[in-house]
Symmetry: C2
Amino acid sequence: MSGKLDRRKKYTRRVLKESLITLLSQKPISNITVKEVCEVADINRSTFYTHYSDHYDLLSKMEKEITEDMNQYLYSYSYEREEESIQMTEKILEYITENKLMFQVLLNKKAVPTFEKRMMDLTRGFMMTNLMDGHVVNKQESEYLSSFVISGAIHVIKDWIEKDMDRSPKEMAVMINSFINYGFSYLE
Amino acid sequence: MSGKLDRRKKYTRRVLKESLITLLSQKPISNITVKEVCEVADINRSTFYTHYSDHYDLLSKMEKEITEDMNQYLYSYSYEREEESIQMTEKILEYITENKLMFQVLLNKKAVPTFEKRMMDLTRGFMMTNLMDGHVVNKQESEYLSSFVISGAIHVIKDWIEKDMDRSPKEMAVMINSFINYGFSYLE
DNA sequence: GACACCGTGTTGGATATTCAACAAACAGTT
DNA sequence: AACTGTTTGTTGAATATCCAACACGGTGTC
């Protein structure tokens, strides 16, 4: 995938993303200009246009990349054993830690209304194909249950971010996993 | 001075400096390679050589720049009024705050033996031309006194850095200035 | 309406960086 | 001594970015 990028491209894209996130933490995207993004990033404006058509494009490409990364984590572990499923959750929480401000901003509904939904859909897809294939009783009911469980998990994560990540990813992973398992035990 | 630098030059020089400082905090310069500096900085090695001849050159240019900055601060204030001399000290301490790791590393004698001496000489020169012109009694004696005072001040700053800058630059500025004034009151 | 101001895309030429490759010097191993 | 692996400077051609300039559309002000 995505043939190796020149160091320069990697750098400019990285700082442009960081810049947009910083600005998004201060004001809505409609009040942000391309010029501003470039100034904060210290990147020439003409360079911006060789990568993105405008700042909305930049944002949507960021969202896409994140969902790709998340998918990566979700499907690189087997959800069979308790062991591995906790490791997976931990990996994801570490990823969030490394991109704290980004998730803080993107998970804020007012800022980027689409992002939380995206995360929900993503996770639900995974849940449906993995967790349920064993003990599916009622298809409809289990879809609602997964909504319930996932939105709960996401909000626990949001709280955790707001509390400045007071617990380690490992601790949180164990906790969240047991919440999720308990939630699905409803079906039995 | 120094015609405006292209963004790209500014960036590469900045990250190369940061990289060297990081490595110097881990090992002596003799164990550091140019290759390593470039890897940490994520800069192509051939680019390194267009700016510096080797990592020793990079280090000495860093030292030179710092002393230039310090001189800037020293001579942009009038040392007449107590008021301004405290402001000056504060500016310098803020500069140190912004470059914490750098000073931490460079003021460590084992790492860069020349740097502390440089700072001493620099400050002594300033002291001799400004502080003393009023009440000079004994030229020789006052030179020794300034050594005494300056080295004291520098070590207070080193302590402050090691204590993770527990007090504000403002507080420290007031304290250090009163130490210095008391020291020079010896001459009266 | 005329005006000044500001962000937008886009362009062309100048410049800096990248990348891959090379020969040479060096250190450690067998 | 031959062998292996690593760092060093240096090169040339490809590429990305910079910068300054432009015409354009929008917005607010007199």
